[in-house]
């Protein structure tokens, strides 16, 4: 294996292969499963890297440091906030995967609610729950080398990020809207031709434009596209008859706390309780 991942702080495995670790925070495990979902490419990947820590796959775990860490999930407890700093310290490259790790996930709905409001609804004895008031992305806590969006992530994009990382090149992960993929595959725009509410124009491509291809509007699983103009899309959806509460909920799903979606949900009437700064600590790709 050549390129950028060689000999990272002596992290490469005994046989010279770079090491890969997969970490879970507050999440459903779906994004990690995308790795196992790679099926035919999985053996090639296992040949190219030594999977040193991946509890979804094996109890065996090799101590760090690691060349590449994939981090799934958001930070919802003090303990996790500490643990992600340890993961960062052990990892040469840290790639966050999925809506939880990049935007706080569906559990970030609590960021909009009163203190303990959701815990009171879900748990019989919420007094046993020791959690932070907010669910926050990994980038709010440590530097992140690359963020892969999606709920869940697309396995082809995951393989692209890993392949590019191992080859020492920039991953080819477009930041533009879902519309690119609709037009590329010849899907007729459901928003224009049917008046179906669709978040595609403000959502990052990557899923292959699955929902519009079956006549549904985009739900925004992949989070905001680069420079997403949510206010203008919201105005159009209002014009087409969507009520403010409905609009607010439309933006408040898997990526509710992603700044572009959060701000629009708030503008449409979602309660603002926690002032979440758009803290970004990512370093540019290629920076060491």
């Amino acid at each position: 294996m050549s390129g950028g991942a060689d000999g990272a702080n002596g992290a490469a495995g005994d046989d010279g292969r770079p090491t890969l670790a997969v970490w879970k925070f507050a999440s459903c495990d779906g994004c990690q499963l995308s790795l196992l979902d790679c099926e035919e490419e999985l053996l090639m990947l296992a040949g190219a890297v030594r999977i040193a820590h991946f509890t979804e796959m094996s109890r065996a775990s090799t101590p760090g440091p690691y060349d590449v860490s994939l981090v799934e999930g958001s930070i919802t407890t003090e303990a996790d906030a500490e643990r992600v700093r340890e993961v960062r310290a052990m990892s040469r490259r840290l790639v966050t995967i999925g809506a939880c790790a990049t935007a706080g996930g569906i559990q970030a709905l609590r960021n909009f609610a009163g203190e303990g409001e959701y815990a009171g609804m879900v748990y019989a004895h919420p007094e046993y729950i020791a959690a932070l008031e907010t669910s926050t992305p990994i980038s709010a806590h440590v530097e992140v080398d690359f963020e892969l969006q999606g709920c869940p992530i697309d396995r082809h994009q995951l393989l692209e990020v890993l392949t590019a990382t191992l080859a020492g090149r920039r991953p080819v992960i477009p930041g533009h809207s879902v519309c690119w993929q609709c037009k590329g595959r010849g899907t007729v725009c459901v928003l224009v031709a049917k008046g179906t509410a669709c978040l595609g124009p403000v959502t990052r491509s990557g899923c292959g434009a699955l929902c519009p291809a079956v006549g549904r509007g985009c739900f925004g699983c992949f989070g905001p596209a680069e420079t997403a103009n949510t206010a203008s899309l919201a105005a159009q959806l209002r014009h087409q008859g969507m009520a403010p509460l409905e609009l607010s909920r439309f933006f408040s799903t898997f990526n509710a706390a992603a700044p572009a979606f959060r701000d629009e949900a708030v503008a449409e009437g979602a309660p603002v309780r926690v002032a979440l700064g758009a803290t970004r600590r990512n370093r540019p790709w290629g920076a060491q």
Binding site: W180, K183, V192, N229
Partner: protein
């Protein structure tokens, strides 16, 4: 029947023509109804064409309905254009297998069957001519485009039912057509019956027509065709004022309208993706874990941040600069580059913009307040 002459055929004759082109080895494609819109698709006979369908178009709005009657071409263009057939959204250029120092490169095979396009609109022929200047007649022709374009047999269909988003009359690209086709249909559906005036544009078209038994068009047929075209021209109400437009846009780079339109613009790229002349592409190299490297070309758009990515970052970070780039290239600098306008007046960018931004309205707004600048620019601060 020779070039410049006209025949008349009924729907059964059109069916025979389509099947004949198929028998001659062409892949026959034309307008079909798919997912609530007129889209390019496989057409094996007249039964695949959108009989009785009518469209309703407005900025950010499109609806297709099954109406009265059996006319086959009583609609204006949908979101798909013939560009995608000749200039594919994704094109593999080559792939290479790398094993140590051993590199073997393979290029993909060329398409097998030439294309026969049934029912291309006059504005779409104009779009093909614009793309030819860019991709075929340039110093470095695009071999993929040229291969598909040169082999393509074009049966045009003149326009009798323009949409509210159409402005071909401003651009001189419709609703009638005089060149750029092998054969051209003009659908007539009146007291004289459901029939098509079929004009011959090329020797190749004449050769195909010679294989069918057709009657020459009568003086009445030709008069009805002329009437259809002039009636359609009168039904085109949207206008783009072209006079001095390239210079007007060139001198209004700091006009405040760019920021105003950017407040609405989603930068989603739909206008460029439906535009039948937008030709920007990106070349991407990818590798996989098996040692295979691929170089591919994909459609790109000036609304994508990556499009203006130079060393260290993107140049056009604001949406207003990206919209300005699109509109000024299309209507102004295209003239400098290729000697024509980049716009053919099909109105796709108006109908398929999710928020209904109208290129004719934006150009008119700048003309109305020619010379206006940002307050900040006037003070010498600069808007961006």
């Amino acid at each position: 029947m020779r070039v410049g002459e006209a025949a008349v055929i009924d729907p059964r004759g059109l069916d025979e023509l389509i099947r004949l082109l198929g028998d001659l080895g062409y892949e026959t494609k034309g307008p079909v109804v798919r997912d609530g819109a007129i889209m390019p698709g496989a057409v094996r006979g007249v039964e695949d064409l959108p009989a009785g369908y009518q469209d309703e178009q407005a900025p950010g709005h499109y609806r297709l309905r099954r109406g009265e009657g059996d006319s086959l071409f009583a609609w204006a263009v949908g979101p798909g254009s013939w560009k995608a057939e000749m200039f594919s959204p994704t094109e593999e250029l080559w792939r290479a297998l790398v094993h140590g120092d051993d590199v073997s490169i393979t290029e993909p095979e060329s398409p097998v069957a030439p294309l026969a396009i049934i029912g291309a609109r006059p504005c779409e022929l104009a779009a093909m001519a614009v793309l030819d200047r860019v991709l075929a007649d340039s110093a470095v022709p695009d071999p993929h485009y040229v291969a598909r374009r040169e082999g393509a047999f074009v049966v045009a269909a003149e326009c009798g039912h323009p949409a509210a988003t159409c402005f071909c009359t401003s651009m001189g690209t419709g609703p009638g057509v005089e060149s750029g086709f092998d054969l051209a249909l003009s659908e007539l559906n009146d007291a004289g019956g459901h029939r098509f005036v079929l004009r011959v544009g090329t020797e190749r078209g004449a050769d195909v027509l010679a294989r069918l038994s057709v009657a020459a068009a009568t003086v009445d047929d030709l008069a009805a065709r002329n009437q259809m075209v002039s009636r359609a021209a009168g039904a085109v109400h949207r206008q783009l004022a072209n006079e001095g437009l390239p210079a007007l846009l060139a001198r209004n780079q700091e006009h405040p309208r760019w920021d105003e339109v950017a407040e609405r613009c989603l930068a989603c790229g739909n206008c460029t993706l439906v535009c039948p002349t937008c030709f920007c592409s990106d070349v991407r190299d990818t590798s996989d874990l098996s040692g295979e490297v691929r170089r591919g070309r994909v459609w790109a758009s000036c609304f994508d941040l990556d499009h203006s990515y130079l060393h260290g970052g993107s140049v056009r970070t604001s949406v207003s600069s990206r919209y300005r780039q699109w509109l000024t290239h299309k209507l102004s600098t295209w003239w400098d580059q290729f000697g024509t306008s980049g716009c053919i007046g099909c109105g796709r960018c108006i109908a398929w913009c999710p928020v209904g931004i109208d290129i004719t309205e934006e150009a008119a707004a700048i003309r109305e307040t020619d010379g206006a600048v940002h307050a900040a620019t006037a003070r010498g601060v600069g808007p961006r």
